[in-house]
Amino acid sequence: MENSPPGNFQELITNSHFIDWVSNPTPESEQYWQSFVQKNPSIRDEFEKARYVVKTLQRKRKAIDDDNVREIWDSIQSDLKPKTDNLKLFRWWRVAAAIAVIIGLAGLFYLNFDRQDIDYSKIAVTGTDVSDITLVMSDGSRKVFTAQQTSFSYSQSGLVMVDSTMLITEPNGKATGSHQEFNQLIIPFGKQSTLFLADGTEVILNSGSHVIYPVTFTGAKREIYLEGEAYLKVSHNAEMPFYVNTNEMNVRVLGTEFDVSAYAEENTSYVVLVNGSVEAQLNDENVLLQENERLTFRKSVNRIEKAVVDVREYISWKDGWMYCNNESIGDITKKLSRYYNLEFVFQNKNAEMLTMTGKLDLRSDYRNVLDVICFSAPVKYTEEEGRIIFNLK
């Protein structure tokens, strides 16, 4: 009905463009409908009538209701349960942000090493195969967030601020003695999150990650457990060294920026150091890392390697980019599959082996990214039942 121009009262009055124009005229729509009447003088009468009817039906008695609006709102407020004081939280948020910035600039680092003495296998929840970002509180209750990206900030008192708008009270928020309560964050494939820990440390979590951390840090060291990939900006505290534990290695830091990748399904885990220095421990071996160095652990051969790398390739995901330096399409699609939660199939193994160098913009739709790949390499793809099938051109 709306494809051909409306020709009578009925068609005009049910035409959504016409209705939009009457309620919200824009210069373009104004011009369109003016010239429409000039071109169709025979329906001018119907046109004016339709406009009058729509306009009159749309008119609202706002002014006379203002008192009612206030009155009803007040009555609703008096019947609701008391809420948390938002103001207090916003103040706290500002402080946390300031700390993170200062740490980023300070760059003061230590290296040391200690054994992992928390049994994360006992704490870790099962049922991590979730489709939305999931926060597991210390009492085991779960909060689910449907956004693509969500940020979580912990205060010293055990309050969690979500996306700077919403507050959750951690049931066991207040630290008692040396006993620590743990929260867990599960990031499914296709999503990412930023986590500000109670000490101000910023943890950007990549897709398909699971992190376990104390609500507030007590004792002699700060420890978290990671499966997946995270970029960390650790806040400086010489008294309480910071550890990242993974299944294969433990990374110890005091104030630095680095990327840890430890996906369970990948054959290799690695740490890439951006800034400062860290020490990694695997198989009772301690390895010191310098800036721009990558430490790789190959599970299949139980071996570690150290190499100087272009850190951008490893950390660009946190800014929505993917740098590829002579990287195979197989490896690239493996990362893309996590980032976009897609499944890739290669009909021809040679397509998987082709390498690419360049920058992919992950903030765009995955089809755009795949188009870029197909533009730069002699491959093509089709989508079948939610799977991406690659083949040689």
Binding site: T14, T56, K60, N68, V69, R70, I72, W73, A147, T165
Partner: protein
């Protein structure tokens, strides 16, 4: 009440509200309250009953938010609940114990544009034309034009399927047109008389 420059899409606003954000709750109220008042008043002349129902609606919304589902259009969602609460309240009144939702009266209370002095005749004619529609036709017209719902949203609020709601609007418009057409003769007549007088 403060007027917000509103850019946050309904879907996101609703999500924030479900997560417990009190600002979003207030924003939802501010965005929908005028339409809810107008819609409620169309069913029920008693203003206090309408206000009570809206109060109940928002308190219920707030207290059950952890169990509510997603929506990307808030107003029709609230209209459905308001209608339910209102009907329940009306049924409690003795005479309406067996109130059938299909037979619920619907008043379409249009208001005149005071600056438009020529509109008087048109206004009276339109008002008369609307009076000749069935209550459900008036409700559909109200939802479509005053509340600005799409056919899809309208069909949800009125509990009809998509095609039925389109037909409802179509027949209502058809009727309006016929009635307005009949009156057109009168208008032309009046105009010519006027001209004759001037001569």
């Amino acid at each position: 009440m403060v007027k917000h420059s509103v850019t946050l899409p309904d879907k996101k606003l609703w999500e924030n509200f479900l997560l417990g954000d009190s600002t979003s709750f207030k924003l939802i109220y501010e965005r929908s309250i005028y339409d809810l008042l107008a819609y409620g008043r169309s069913f029920c002349q008693d203003q206090e009953v309408v206000k009570d129902s809206i109060h109940d609606l928002f308190v219920e919304l707030h207290n059950t938010r952890s169990r509510l589902g997603k929506t990307d259009k808030i107003l029709p969602y609230l209209m459905v609940i308001l209608k339910r609460i209102l009907v329940k309240k009306l049924r409690k009144k003795e005479t309406n114990r067996l109130l059938d939702i299909e037979r619920l009266p619907f008043m379409l209370d249009i208001c005149e544009d005071e600056t438009d002095s020529d509109g008087d005749d048109n206004f009276v004619r339109l008002k008369k034309a609307l009076d000749e529609l069935t209550p459900r036709q008036r409700e559909a017209i109200h939802l479509k034009y005053s509340a600005g719902l799409s056919y899809e949203e309208l069909s949800k609020v009125m509990n009809l399927n998509y095609q039925t709601s389109r037909n409802l609007i179509f027949r209502a418009i058809q009727k309006l047109r016929v009635i307005l057409k009949e009156n057109q003769v009168v208008v032309l007549l009046l105009v010519s008389l006027d001209r004759a007088k001037r001569k």
